[in-house]
């Protein structure tokens, strides 16, 4: 059954292992025990056993520090390759005990420096934290897990867990390049009669066609919409039209990723100037349009483009 609880990650599976300090304490304890046995010193036995017991208790508390912690509302925002991907998430503590010294990271991190933290979560409350990392590659990725880690309380055991989040996020190509925009393409419509200026056209109303998301708003037949009809685009023609396409084929001499970076830059520039533009990639094209939805569509196409 799905309820409001389903926004929480499932129970986290925990892995525990001693830290180097933990191993060090084991050696210390062996030395202390040997000395205690040798001198038959009961006080020494007491301290040795006390430290060993503390270690056991430390193990339990380290596990409890992560156990029953949930990750919720994970919100990745798309970024450009090379930028920091920031993920907002909530740590939910549904138990009575407070939790301290919780570190977060992305699975597969190599060094402790990449951990974010430490975070504390009060009893029966939640903390919003931001987790970020540099995205080297463009593409569509699935962030399957978030790594949670703690060595609190005693630093002798490290408890790690992966919170299953399964979030998809996009990394657009890194916008880069300084090539000029390509020339707009002249399009000759199929029913072009041959009269009039090909480029000057756009005055003659040809007809209506259904609206496709991302198309410029100023071509929408608003009167029809006001009458309760579905949104439609008024098509005009002067016999031909100039349409701007940012195309893969315009970028001879660049590497594949280089082309994508340049295209990405052009798309951003186009978006900024409010120009209508389209995108042509080897595996398809996006008709010219404008607006943020259109831009995002283009960027996504660039992000997930795969070389043959």
């Amino acid at each position: 059954m799905s309820g409001p609880d389903s926004r929480f990650s499932k129970d986290i599976r925990l892995y525990t292992r001693p830290t180097r300090s933990g191993y060090m304490l084991m050696l210390v304890l062996i030395a202390m025990l040997t000395a205690s046995v040798n001198y038959g010193n009961n006080m020494a036995y007491i301290l040795t056993f006390l430290l060993f017991s503390l270690m056991l208790v430390g193990y339990m508390f380290a596990r409890n520090n992560l156990k029953g912690l949930y990750v919720a509302n994970v919100m990745p925002r798309p970024v450009f390759a090379g930028d920091r991907l920031a993920i907002d998430l909530e740590l939910h503590n549904r138990s009575k005990g407070r939790r301290f010294g919780i570190w977060l990271g992305f699975p597969g991190i190599k060094s402790a420096e990449e951990l974010c933290g430490p975070f504390a979560v009060d009893a029966r409350s939640n903390t919003t934290v931001e987790l970020s990392f540099i995205t080297p590659l463009r593409g569509r990725f699935t962030l399957s897990h978030i790594l949670l880690m703690t060595i609190y309380p005693l630093g002798l055991f490290m408890v790690k867990g992966e919170a299953n989040i399964e979030k998809v996020y996009l990394v657009y190509p890194h916008p880069e390049g300084n090539r000029p925009w390509p020339e707009p393409e002249l399009m000759v419509l199929e029913n072009y009669s041959g009269e009039g200026n090909l480029l000057k056209g756009g005055d003659d109303f040809v007809g209506l066609r259904p609206y496709r998301p991302g198309e410029p708003m100023h071509h929408v037949d608003w009167k029809a919409v006001a009458r309760g009809r579905p949104m439609a685009i008024k098509e005009f023609t002067g016999g031909g039209t100039a349409r701007l396409f940012f195309g893969w084929h315009h970028l001879e001499g660049l590497t594949g990723e280089g082309r994508l970076s340049q295209l990405c830059k052009w798309v951003l520039e186009g978006d900024e100037q409010g120009t209508e533009f389209g995108l042509k990639l080897p595996d398809g094209k996006i008709s010219p349009g404008a607006g943020s939805t259109h831009t995002l569509k283009c960027l996504e196409a660039l992000a997930v483009f795969e070389f043959r």
Binding site: V28, G40, L50, L54, V57, G68, F100, G139, L143, G155
Partner: protein
């Protein structure tokens, strides 16, 4: 579309970076300072000066955000410090230099704090210093200090791993540290009780024993030697009489040494071989069983009520019914002895020992010889000579004194006997024994303790160093008989014990009946003394229980304990197996107990869930994105007849969850009632 599933690296060691804050550094330094503080008495002065300087310097560097000294400086400091330790002790081995080295190491390591491990390294050094306490001290005070130190050190570790950059409340840290201590207590107790004990050391390090902390007797007795002991309030040993048959004070003679050799000035034990004879009980002996808890004195003597007829195992039995440990006694030991008060034919005197007990100093000339000749001529038997000698002490103006002054070093006994006539027990015993030998009666000198203080709280006898005593034994009627010349000079010493005799001595020089009256008066203590006595008795009682159950808990006591919990006859390895079963079981139980804490569901959410479960049965389930407001609209649409109830429940939940309304027992109860009473009407 790309799906990159990143795999977690389970093996990687990912200890978070060290966050040094004022708090974590402060706690670390406090732990170190606390651990060092116990060792102040046996740490060289330069270290005691250097540690606070180093700590202050390190803290200032942190506060001023200055860089730590370079590697070269650190190495130089370390070399200098360790050189200092070697010079101070001319050695690295042993207890004191070891502790000092750890102190120095910990203080210098503060300047090399880079990782969590460096921090923990200093923490472990602190633990070593706390461990070091027990090389010196095994008292309740030592243990109390240990517990306090462990709590503080744990708090320091908590502070570090807490990671908070803002200050963390001291109260919280100490409380948590204490909580961890409490949780670990059960494990510790089980391990302590069941960890198999051995009585044989793995190796023996004798380098420190015998040099320090020596208390009590030497293997010789010279006049004036007891003066130091006489004023010491330190406990020598405690005696329990499990059968409740404690003899009267006058019969409480605890022998420890028998001295056979004399040079005319003092008495020596000489080298004696282990002669065995553990059990020499005669059939008609009235045995007095007693358990002696002996404080460490760094020598091998063991004391027992005379005459010890059944001696514990694993000791060296020496001629004269005394026994010794194989090792210098460096920790509290406990043993059981059966003694007889009346001499029977326990000992024989063979020819070589007869000669030994008659031996006089070589080429000995002394006015004592003339004195003895008079007695010999007047008396008919050896017993008569003994009586004459005692009469001499009684009637010639001899005085019993703790501070008799120094005797002529060339002829101390003659000076005592003929000029000063003022002495402590060892003067009388030494002189008397020599007189007996001069008279041709086999005699030996015995040193030990006499009397003691009965502890009414614990029902045991405390024998202190001030109860040290010396007496003499002479061979009469084929028996070694005790003769205590002190008893004729200061009968109250023997009657009431050393403590009382001192009180009487404080009242001034008294004679005969006056002494008895004074003793009577001294017996009646005033109120304050009684209160003091009460607390002292109880404290002593706690101490002895401590010594019996904790300090001297060895293989044999462990066997007794196991027997009392129904595990008699269990072997060492079976015990290990028992531990291997018990500790994980305890661990499992404890984690169950602690787990409950985290499994509790938020009570508000629980009620809300109960509520939507009811609507879910009729097909209305909240979507994942749906808050209680949207859900309320939908449910009201679906169940218009429940409108009022749904609104009430939702509004209360929203107020409690998101609003200012506090979640109290009362408000929670109201929500509970509403949810319980909610019934979907179709």
């Amino acid at each position: 579309m790309k799906f990159i599933k990143l795999k977690i690296q389970r093996k990687a060691s990912l200890v978070p970076p060290l966050i040094i804050t004022r708090g974590s550094l402060g706690w670390l330094m406090a732990s170190l300072a606390l651990a060092v503080s116990w060792h102040i008495p046996h740490t060289p002065a330069w270290v005691l000066l250097a540690v606070p300087l180093l700590l202050t310097w390190r803290y200032r560097l942190f506060v001023l955000k200055r860089p730590l000294p370079s590697r070269a400086v650190r190495v130089a400091l370390t070399l200098a410090a360790f050189g200092g330790v070697v010079i101070s002790y001319s050695s690295y081995l042993g207890r004191d230099p070891g502790i000092t080295a750890v102190i120095v190491m910990g203080s210098l390591k503060l300047f090399e704090l880079k990782t969590q491990r460096d921090f923990m390294f200093i923490i472990f050094l602190c633990y070593f210093l706390v461990f070091g306490i027990f090389l010196y001290d095994q008292t309740i005070q030592g243990l109390t200090f240990m517990v306090a130190a462990v709590i503080v050190i744990t708090a320091a570790v908590l502070r570090l791993n807490h990671g908070e950059r803002q200050p963390v409340k001291i109260k919280f840290l100490v409380k948590s540290g204490f909580r961890f201590f409490l949780y670990s207590l059960p494990f510790m107790l089980v391990l302590f009780a069941l960890f198999p004990r051995t009585s044989v050391p793995l190796w023996h390090l004798g380098e420190d024993s015998g040099k320090q902390g020596r208390m009590g007797f030497n293997d010789s007795v010279f006049p004036g030697q007891f003066a130091e002991l006489a004023t010491s309030d330190k406990t020598a040993f405690r005696v329990d009489f499990p059968d409740g048959n404690m003899p009267e004070i006058k019969d409480l003679y605890f022998r420890g040494l028998v001295l056979w050799y004399t040079n005319g000035k003092g008495w020596f034990q000489g080298n004696m071989r282990n002669i065995g004879g553990r059990n020499i009980a005669a059939p008609d002996d009235v045995l007095i069983k007693h358990v002696v808890t002996l404080e460490p004195h760094m020598d091998r003597w063991m004391f027992a009520l005379e005459i010890p007829v059944i001696i514990p195992r694993r000791v060296v039995v020496l001629p004269g019914r005394i026994f010794q440990s194989h090792w210098p006694i460096g920790r509290v030991i406990q043993y059981t002895v059966d003694s007889a008060l009346q001499p029977q034919n326990h000992e024989t005197l063979d020819e070589s020992f007869r000669r030994l007990s008659l031996r006089l100093p070589r080429e000995w000339t002394s006015p004592m010889i003339d004195l003895v000749r008079e007695w010999r001529e007047a008396a008919a038997s050896d017993a008569g000579v003994v009586r004459a000698a005692l009469d001499y002490f009684r009637n010639s103006g001899f005085e019993y004194s703790l501070s008799p002054g120094t005797m002529d070093p060339n002829q101390p006994l003659e000076d005592f006997l003929f000029n000063q006539k003022k002495g402590f027990c060892e003067h009388y015993a030494a002189a008397f024994t020599l007189l007996m030998r001069a008279a041709g009666i086999p005699a030996r000198m015995v040193a030990g303790y006499h009397g003691g203080t009965y502890n009414s709280a614990g029902g045991f006898l405390v024998v202190r160093q001030s109860d040290a005593h010396a007496w003499s034994e002479v061979w009469l009627d084929d028996k070694w008989r005790r003769v205590d010349p002190t008893s004729v000079v200061a009968p109250e010493r023997i009657q009431f014990g050393a403590e009382m005799s001192r009180t009487i001595a404080d009242m001034g020089a008294l004679q005969g009946d006056e002494r008895a009256a004074a003793a009577e008066r001294a017996m009646r203590k005033n109120f304050l003394e009684r209160v003091y006595r009460f607390f002292k008795d109880h404290w002593d009682n706690i101490n002895i229980k401590w010594e019996v159950w904790i300090m001297t808990y060895d293989r044999f006591r462990q066997r007794d304990f196991l027997k009392s919990i129904g595990l008699s006859g269990i072997g060492r390895w079976s015990l290990v197996i028992v531990l291997i079963i018990i500790i994980p079981t305890l661990f499992f139980l404890a984690s169950l107990l602690l787990k409950r804490r985290t499994l509790t569901i938020d009570p508000l959410r629980k009620q809300y869930r109960l509520f939507y479960r009811k609507t879910a049965k009729k097909g209305i389930t909240p979507a994942a994105w749906e808050g209680p407001l949207d859900f309320r609209v939908r449910t009201v649409d679906a169940f218009p007849r429940n409108k009022a109830e749904i609104r009430e429940i939702s509004n209360l939940y929203i107020k409690l969850r998101y609003g200012r309304m506090p979640v109290t027992k009362k408000s929670l109860k109201q929500l509970k009632r509403l949810v319980k009473g909610f019934k979907v009407k179709k």
